[in-house]
């Protein structure tokens, strides 16, 4: 049975996550979707705003999904899958998780990536962040959670564009500096074609276009995003050691890393790597390069880490590995 794609919708309080989700669920393309919503506080309210539908909607109450109820999230997703397997409940083909406005998406992604029960049944499809066109800039200034949500996203949905123009008020440029690779989509009252939010993936070569990362005149004070590029193949050991050092020393400063890597030992078959902080998927190997550019391209989203340091570290490790292998 094919793995069920799971997407996470995040975004700060009032940024329109539920409105977007409610609108998306009306799209026939998402007709067979199970939804897990999470509210902060004793009484869950957000799910009441999601119109009654045929989809399976499960509410997690009693805490933030990134903190106290992470175990509940894993259990809930597991229960959904178990019911589906025996033909009980809705026969969904996708799971969407809506986080609270204060949630850090990183632990949620890590939970999905590492839980052994869910591992074979789910595949992480997309992280979507909603940003309020009118209040987004002020929110980014005041709340680090919102910065992290936008920085981690695969796609950013700017909402309430009927109230304010994100291009005119500088929000669009700011989000681009924060997360150059994430397409910025707009939604008024949640209206957005679902096909623009789901699908695609980490093997999309457009994600790794180095030109995206060249001009960052208005970069955020703490988040830096850059693309490490190598023309020569990397040894597998170098890549492993590089990720090991990053995981060991950078901790929460490494928000997300995704890359297409030309591995010396696997000519013509690039590795796709993806990690959230210190947790990585096992690398996947493509049958062929997805475009004409066969260079290694690793996109790194960090909290205050230095691109030059990563470049130097990668080179230094490769020097050492080469020296040891030639010995």
């Amino acid at each position: 049975m094919a793995a069920v794609p799971v997407s996470v919708i995040t975004g700060f309080l009032g940024s329109g996550k539920t409105t977007l989700l409610a609108s998306l669920l009306r799209d026939p393309a998402l007709a067979r979707t199970a939804v897990i919503v999470n509210e902060l506080g004793a009484v869950g309210l957000d799910h009441l705003l999601v119109e009654a539908s045929d989809e399976e909607i499960v509410a997690l109450d009693g805490g933030c999904v990134c903190c106290t109820v992470r175990g509940d999230l894993v259990r809930t997703a597991g229960d959904l899958l178990a019911r589906r397997a025996v033909g009980a409940g809705a026969a969904f083909e996708r799971i969407v998780i809506e986080t609270t406005g204060l949630a850090d998406p990183a632990p949620i992604l890590q939970a999905l990536m590492t839980d052994p029960v869910l591992a074979d049944a789910l595949c992480l499809e997309s992280v979507i962040a909603t940003v309020d066109a009118a209040a987004g800039a002020a929110t980014l200034d005041a709340h680090p959670e919102s910065v992290k949500q936008a920085a981690l996203a695969d796609r950013i949905v700017v909402t309430k564009t009927d109230l304010s123009d994100p291009a005119a008020n500088g929000l669009a440029e700011r989000l681009r500096a924060l997360n150059p690779a994430a397409p910025q989509l707009t939604a008024v009252h949640g209206a957005l074609d679902a096909s623009r939010l789901f699908g695609g993936g980490l093997y999309d070569p457009g994600l790794y276009d180095p030109r995206l990362y060249e001009v960052r005149a208005h970069g955020h004070a703490t988040v830096t995003t850059f693309c490490l590029r190598r023309g020569a193949p990397l040894r597998a050991v170098t890549l492993t050691l590089f990720l090991q050092v990053l995981a060991e020393h950078c901790g929460a400063g490494l928000l997300r890393l995704k890359g297409l890597v030309d591995v010396l030992e696997s000519p013509g078959r690039p590795a796709v790597i993806h990690g959230v902080q210190h947790v990585f998927h096992p690398p996947a190997w493509l049958e062929a390069w997805p475009d004409g550019d066969h260079s290694t391209r690793i996109v790194v989203i960090t909290l205050g880490l230095d691109a030059r340091w990563m470049e130097d570290l990668l080179d230094a490790l490769d020097d050492e590995v080469a020296a040891l292998q030639e010995r």
Binding site: A2, G201, Y203, A247, E248, A323
Partner: protein, 118 residues
């Protein structure tokens, strides 16, 4: 015997930056400089506490010693095959309370089986 420099200036500059930035990541104020007594060595000097001498031994391998803790003596701290072990040692000595992570490879395949992965 006079030590002979094995590496070019680009290598020295690169390693210097790796160490300097690592200090910043660990939150350790200090400096990193070339070792005047060893053409392929470095001195890592925190603002407080003893400095360390980091020496490279070609083709790969590092030794760490406390720099002159007493006249005529150097306290060896460790030998390491590569930079990962060396950085771990430096962090343990200079910033024992700095958060240390661990690479976790999750169980979930990166690409769904229907998305072209294997």
């Amino acid at each position: 015997m006079i030590p002979v420099m094995q590496y070019d200036p680009a290598w020295h500059a690169r390693i210097l930056r790796v160490f300097s930035c690592a200090l910043r990541i660990w939150g350790v104020p200090g400096t990193v400089s070339r070792d005047p007594d060893d053409p392929d060595g470095f001195v890592v000097a925190p603002n407080t506490g003893p400095a360390m001498r980091v020496r490279h031994k070609a083709p790969a391998g590092w030794t760490v010693t406390l720099r002159d803790p007493a006249p005529g003596a150097q306290a060896p701290l460790g030998r390491h095959v590569g930079l990962p072990g060396l950085l771990r040692r430096l962090r343990a000595e200079l910033a024992p309370d700095a958060p240390a992570g661990r690479l976790v490879i999750g169980a979930q395949p990166l690409l769904g089986r229907d998305l072209g992965g294997r």
